[in-house]
């Protein structure tokens, strides 16, 4: 269980997160939505101990402040926004980096890596170098790296951004199979909202404006208020209406 209490993050004078309270249960799936600059990525960064914050974040009742990085990585894995890389690590070497929190050994031939690679559907890419992958392939490799960490929680920052239609489908398929992992996914993608179960967290200006299921009668109104736009819905599926 992740317990966030009074979380405040400041960048200089700007307040990115304002006195936020949130609880994420074991195995709970949460889609985090909000306008650009609303504090979504900052919330993930705070959970990962990458920014200074006021307030408390505790993990199973224990504060994460001052916890060793390797210990934290065993609890929370991170799928950053897709990046481009000049480095020529093979997919296997890249994914094996996820094992670091478990052991400093190299373990490139470890069976966990092979299992995760086939779970994510990129087993045939294992000897390719990461600088030659397509966006969708790299995104899956990044997810695979987070999965071998074998953590209880996984945080994903816009896993379908910059992907084509098919890659988006494939990545969402992979993500929808995270059954027992607590998951927080930052996404602007209505497809993600439609495809993935779990509850939705809307934040705006560093504050939570909604937390609940997407079939909550309030939800559609709240999401339109939050983004200041119209969103259509047919039978629980959300879409951008043509004007």
């Amino acid at each position: 269980m992740i317990d966030i209490h009074g979380l405040t993050v400041r960048y200089g004078k700007k307040i990115a997160l304002n006195n936020l309270d949130l609880r994420v249960g074991d195995g709970e799936h949460l889609i985090l939505m909000g306008p650009n600059g609303s504090g979504k990525t900052t919330l993930l960064r705070a959970l990962l101990g990458l920014v200074r914050y006021d307030g408390t974040i505790s993990l199973n009742g224990k504060s994460t402040n001052g916890i060793a990085r390797r210990e934290l990585a065993r609890e929370i894995a991170y799928v950053p926004q897709i990046f481009s890389t000049p480095y020529t690590f093979t997919v296997k070497e890249f994914v094996s980096m996820g094992l670091y929190s478990l052991s400093r050994e190299w373990w490139i031939e470890d069976e966990r890596i092979h299992k995760v690679l086939s779970d994510v559907g990129i087993d045939e890419l294992k000897e390719k170098t990461i600088n030659t992958l397509s966006g969708g392939e790299l995104q899956k490799a990044i997810i695979a790296r987070a999965l071998v960490q074998d953590s209880n929680y996984i945080l994903m920052d816009e896993p379908t951004a910059h992907l084509d239609i098919r890659s988006t489908q494939e990545v969402l398929e992979v993500v929808s199979n995270f059954k027992d992992k607590g998951t927080i996914i930052v996404s602007h993608d209505l497809n993600a909202l439609n495809k993935l179960g779990g509850s939705v967290l809307l934040i705006k200006n560093g504050e939570i404006v909604f937390k609940g299921m997407k079939d909550d009668p309030d939800f559609k109104g709240r999401i339109m208020d939050t983004f200041e736009t119209r969103i259509g819905e047919i039978g629980g599926f959300f879409y951008f209406p043509l004007s």
């Binding site: 990458l50 060793a68 990585a73 690590f89």
Partner: protein, 328 residues
């Protein structure tokens, strides 16, 4: 891929041994490699070696050759980790202000007493490094972007001071310039002993950290989220490499290009991963410096500063590598 990497590492070790033998045979007195091997055999089994040859080899040539290998390894491994930590292909071991600091110390040393040159070079190199580090600390962590800029600024400042002292005060200009360009002419077994100890600090440490160094290539944020204590790795790696490089510079002067070019050559052959690179880069550095120093001490003009030779060899190699990369 992995097997060929092992093979290449072994090849480099053999190449180093071969270059040591070649270098031993070259000098004012030419001693053929067979004669060297025979003399080693006679010496080892107490069968009356040629003492003239033994003296030349053991007291004159070998200390210098060993020093070239050790310094080459130190510069190669420091250059590698500096390039990794800064994620900058132009990184070299002098980046944090080592060389210009050492230059100030050496200039003052030449002014006061030549015996003080190594000590002052070391003290001022560490001073420059210390200032760069102080400027670039933020949030209890070394900010590498700041450190590059701080290192460059501090280097300019110390270079200006060194130039001022050398231009206005130092009588032995040739001596200073020779020192600034680097040379192994003063090598003794004592130097070898101390620098070997230094190598035995930095080399195992970087071998230990090679897993972290690999992951840190992916950037600080990812490295942290994967569990790497980046603040600790950076601080330890940068401080130790600056300290050991300063020590090397204080003994042999500022030998350029080896720290820059050795990791690049290594990467072309064994790839990015530090798993092999941490062995390959220093061995390449050792071979470049050994060959360069052998040339430097046997030119028709007599001894010339080895830094000239390393740049003559290193620059075209680097240009070739860049050219190859452009074509891909």
């Amino acid at each position: 891929m992995r097997f060929s990497n092992y093979l290449f590492t072994v090849f480099l070790v053999l190449l180093t041994v071969f270059n040591i033998l070649v270098s031993l045979s070259i000098g004012p007195v030419h001693i053929p490699i067979q004669a060297i091997l025979k003399n080693i055999y006679l010496y080892a089994f107490n069968k009356g070696p040629d003492w003239t040859i033994t003296t030349i080899l053991f007291y004159i040539r070998l200390p210098r050759i060993v020093l070239a290998v050790i310094i080459g390894m130190i510069l190669g491994v420091s250059g590698l980790v500096i390039q990794t930590i800064f994620k900058n292909p132009l990184g070299d071991p002098y980046l944090t202000g080592v060389s210009s600091g050492a230059a100030v110390g050496a200039a003052i040393g030449f002014l006061v007493s030549p015996f003080l040159v190594p000590v002052l070079a070391f003290v001022f190199a560490m001073t420059a490094v210390g200032i760069s580090f102080l400027i670039s600390r933020s949030d209890g962590e070394v900010n590498t972007e700041m450190l590059i800029l701080a290192g460059v600024s501090v280097s300019f400042l110390f270079s200006a001071v060194a130039s001022y002292i050398i231009y206005l005060k130092v009588a032995n200009l040739r001596g200073v310039i020779f020192w600034l360009l680097g040379g192994l002419y003063g090598a003794t077994w004592t130097d070898d002993f101390w620098l070997f100890l230094a190598l035995m600090v930095i080399f195992p440490l970087m071998v230990y950290f090679r897993r972290e160094l690999d992951i840190m290539l992916m950037g600080d944020e990812q490295a942290k989220s994967l569990g790497v204590n980046t603040a600790r790795v950076k601080t330890v790696v940068l401080l130790i490499s600056s300290l050991i490089t300063s020590l090397a510079v204080s003994v042999v002067g500022i030998i350029g290009f080896i720290g820059l070019v050795s990791p690049h050559i290594g990467r072309k052959i064994v790839g990015e991963s530090h798993r092999f690179l941490v062995f390959v880069a220093p061995l390449i550095g050792a071979n470049i410096l050994l060959v360069s120093d052998t040339i430097a001490r046997s030119t028709p003009q007599g001894e010339i500063p080895v830094g000239i030779i390393t740049s003559f060899i290193g620059a075209p190699v680097l240009i070739y590598l860049l050219y190859r990369r452009r074509k891909i």
